[in-house]
Symmetry: D2
Subunit: 256 residues, 4 copies
């Protein structure tokens, strides 16, 4: 039987600032990436978000970002490998305190925004992230873009690795994501997006932007809870996947 994980970033509020429909999207996903206070999130938000995840019985992962609250961690920053490593450790630990307080384990680590995108292409940065995770807890799963330097580094370091795919993004023929500023990078047709996900999960294939079929492993699908439409789309993906006989379970259930 096919299994796949649905993951979403939650816990990205900060202080009095609310972001995301966390309680709604949490009902439809199997794994939550919880912000850790650098690009978003704060101790109050983290505690509350862990509660939401526990209530919905979904697995919890750390979602470390660059120290750039003003830019929401989306801006490229040239941090050294050592800085990257220590930023990852700090943030995993900060979230760990909240899961440990509730007697649950962290399942995974997925870096945020520019920290994720840069590591997909930069082998040195990717290795720093993988090593940081391994040194804190070698049982944590590293979530990285399928076919990227990040998943490669995770494998090399000896971590369990989850290959992440995007329903609404086009792929180049080498398996990398088409850059957002190129035409056709984002797939706006929902039906097509879902059909692509289905094929990625069942066949391990996706058609690239240039028309060839390429190999892709879909362990976890990135979804969003930013607005009601996004949440509806998550529900739709989930229902379609289940109807097609695909079980939605936390990545930790099948990545060994």
């Amino acid at each position: 039987m096919y299994k796949v994980d649905l993951n979403s970033d939650i816990g990205e509020s900060f202080g009095d600032y609310k972001m995301g429909l966390d309680e709604n999207v949490a009902k439809h996903i199997s794994s939550a990436n919880i912000a850790c206070g650098f690009h978003a999130g704060d101790p109050m938000v983290m505690e509350k978000t862990v509660e939401i995840a526990l209530r919905e019985n979904i697995a919890i992962g750390a979602h470390p970002g660059y120290p750039d609250l003003m830019g929401f961690g989306r801006r490229e920053m040239k941090v050294s490998a050592k800085e990257a490593k220590n930023y990852i450790k700090y943030q995993i630990g900060a979230l760990w305190a909240f899961t440990e307080s509730r007697g649950v384990k962290l399942q995974h680590v997925k870096t945020h925004g520019a920290f994720y995108n840069m590591a997909a292409k930069d082998a040195v940065l990717a290795k720093a992230i993988a090593e940081a995770i391994y040194e804190v807890d070698k049982n944590l799963i590293l979530v990285g873009l399928a076919n990227s330097e990040l998943t490669k580094a995770g494998n090399e370091v000896g971590l369990k690795v989850a290959n992440e795919v995007f329903a609404d993004r086009a792929y180049n023929s080498d398996g990398t994501l088409v850059s957002r500023n190129k035409e056709g990078a984002v797939i706006h047709d929902k039906g097509m997006a879902i059909a692509r996900v289905l094929r990625m999960v069942k066949e391990g294939k996706v058609e690239s932007i240039t028309g060839e079929d390429i190999d892709i492993q879909a362990d976890t699908i990135c979804v969003h809870g930013d607005n009601p439409q996004a949440v509806e789309f998550v529900e739709e993906i989930r229902k379609t996947l289940e109807k097609e006989g695909i079980e939605i379970v936390p990545m930790g259930d099948f990545i060994k």
Copy 2:
């Protein structure tokens, strides 16, 4: 045989800003309180400071502060009990990641500056701190001012508690510290300061500012590494204590 712990705040640098003679004072103490990024410290500093502690074979504790880098955590802030609780958890976790990476355990938690002083007098805040520690790891020792609300809360919550004393501070007859803005609050005579410490450790007594002997339990003595004179004084305290047959060991060795 008498045993006592010497503790000092270290790891209070931030980014390119250096503070404290960490490597020097670490040679003379038995327990290090490492800043966790709120009032001071950052991931790079925390990693480096854990290394210093390991090299000197001293025990490591978290030193959480208020989120006030500009005020170095020394300014009173009215945070709620829940905020206090979550701030403590976040910071313990952040440091834990660095000790866990090196295969060592955290020994204790000592709050910083205004977070320490306010909790000494405010039972609600004290309870929030004690509960936070207990929920993250009930084996951690809570360090609090002897005869304060903080140590009381630690005992009530069921934590191991270390009573902290100050060599250079005067005490009121109720066992609390004489406020710094009162005359005689600070003892400038080094010989007298050391003699007082000796008596606190051996007899569990100290003469209050009003002349009576009061009971005080001295599990750990707060010392400083801000400047060369401070470090020299730590060395002097240590030597005198050892000459008097008092063993300097991490608090975890005798607080059960």
Copy 3:
């Protein structure tokens, strides 16, 4: 003819975080208090908010807060008079750069949250704020709670002062606000709130929570744009005031 100002805090978004219906409330007020980056706001938000104010032809004031983004400047912090003074100057200057770029003048300064509430009662803090404003630009109007230490300090220092009143808050017989945690502190009946405002503007009187009439000068009324209901209420206040022959104009038009 009667004149009064309607002021609201706007520009309290931060980075990707949105807060307040700024564009909507700006249509109904005469003066905007724009956050300056300490408790809320950032350079991008400030630029955008100045544009909104210019488009709606409303006057602009600085809205400095405590350096506490996580607590939205609502938590009491014990800052020194000198710190308060410099925090005010820094924030006025930061906003000035954006108004200066557009060729307009700053009209007023109103401190935010705990910085406002503490200064209403603390004469030392109030004086620090008033002096800071005076030293940067002695033509700026200081907005303070009517009958408070803050307005008093403004007068003493030689600033123009705007006495601020609240439509939905009860007053003590000494003219101070009834603390929010006391029963009856907030007036939920909109009709009554508007009637009270009318009387404050026209007669300079308000009935205190203990039943006596007290003197109060209403130069500017504090209104909110947090949600659609709040904006509607602002519109309602405005219409009622205008129907009653009260002109809504920026405080700078009548405070000399």
Copy 4:
């Protein structure tokens, strides 16, 4: 008669963290670049640093940096042109409040660290910086690396521009600085460094790393006050320049 300016970054302390021998170096320079709270500096430090500059009778400029206190503004960040523009405005304004309070004018703006280095090469970023300055106050002098995109943008926008040179850095044959990670990038021989400066000021020439003479305009020389040796070197440069008949004056005295 030859005239040149000596500028140094000062006011880079933060909270309890001290950096730089500001009071010492201020005695030997003619222009001070004062940090504005993003990469370093805070309102207390800014006020104090303005006082130092006034006492030493040197000209004051804003020294805006990236919002990266943890990285001291030295790390590349990909900010948009609009973000750059608003960051510059905000920081100029913040410092302006302190000079305005003391009745003096700002003389110049020099961006810090990565904000300076990136703008030397990136025309879009350079233009954003120049426009920001022009919009806030078109009389401010833009300080940029001689022969860079930044000085070019300043000229295009219509600002007065100061060409900055470095005593201890090698130049490429196109007039740009040799990257620090290349051999020979830093000139360690003090005598040679001073001789090069003299020639730059008097002849407008410097020998490039590849041996050719290139044109360079030296309006202001960047010097440092990080440590006693650095301050001594500033004193030495100053004395030598003066002995050679070069007057050390604020750039505003000769850049029109």
